[in-house]
Symmetry: C2
Subunit: 138 residues, 2 copies
DNA sequence: ATGCCACACGTTATACCATTACGCAATTAT
DNA sequence: ATAATTGCGTAATGGTATAACGTGTGGCAT
């Protein structure tokens, strides 16, 4: 099967459960929070969560936020089936919401910077902390 | 005392020990690695390390790498005594070395991006994974 | 069908990262 | 002097992630 068609349909039971938990959440979830959420569905051990998360991240359906030790459902269809080199996340310190951005300008800036110091860029972790537009006006 | 003069001289014993451990290291160190390194100097518990690290980070002498859960001595004098909003780190996946960059262009790009989506930027986590110039050849 | 292989799964144990809570001593401010 | 602040030591706990082992299933070459 073409790996770019309907990956979502090929998820295993555990992967689907984790995916749905993340899709329903308004903020990123830690692996152990996911475990708690899914105890009613038979989850008993962290590894069940981590194995599902590994695959979902590999598929590009979920992203890991390094500065939060947490995971979030992808908000951008183009991530599916490929690993984007440069994604930017904004994280609101007030409401915890996350926004995912793919910016050509940003990708260019990163590439240039890497080139200047002869660094072979494989992957970027870009996570901006601050206050989102909703919370700013509160 | 003016907190912008010779912060390095005002470190406590534990802070100095941790600072030296990080300065001597060729790669970032985890808190527990630092603990092991300093056992001969009387360190017995993680908290001794974490308390020192908290202060050193506050002083701008040490930076935390979120994607590694590890700490690195600052390579850029201008960080001392202030918190830079935007620092970029490159992390070599082969040798583990880290390079710290302060780029005006990058800061501008981040600010613009934040402005575009009405996000009040407080702090950036930017960590690029790849291969450094030394490791690239051979 | 048989044997083999790849893969998802379940469980237990362990390793690694970080903080809370308590008490004490030294320093600094009033 | 007294109070507030800060650094320190220790023990306990909480949060994050992986290692190691075994089971079951489906695909597939023989
Ligand atoms: Zn995405
Ligand atoms: Zn918000
Ligand atoms: Zn610095
Ligand atoms: Zn290298």
């Amino acid at each position: 099967m073409n790996k770019h068609t309907s990956l979502t349909m090929d998820l295993t039971k555990n992967q689907s459960l984790v995916m749905n938990a993340l899709s329903d959440a308004k903020t990123p979830l830690s692996a152990y929070t996911i475990l708690d959420v899914l105890r009613d569905h038979g989850f008993r051990a962290p590894l069940q969560v981590y194995r599902a998360l590994d695959k979902l991240v590999e598929f590009g359906l979920v992203h890991r936020l390094e500065s939060l030790n947490a995971f979030v459902a992808c908000q951008h269809p183009s991530c599916e089936g490929e690993k984007n080199e440069t994604i930017l996340f904004t994280i609101c310190e007030k409401c915890g919401s996350v926004q995912e951005l793919l910016s050509d300008k940003l990708v260019g800036a990163m590439r240039n910077l890497a080139d200047e110091i002869d660094f072979t860029l494989k992957e970027s972790v870009i996570e901006l902390r601050g206050i989102c537009s909703n919370c700013k006006d509160h």
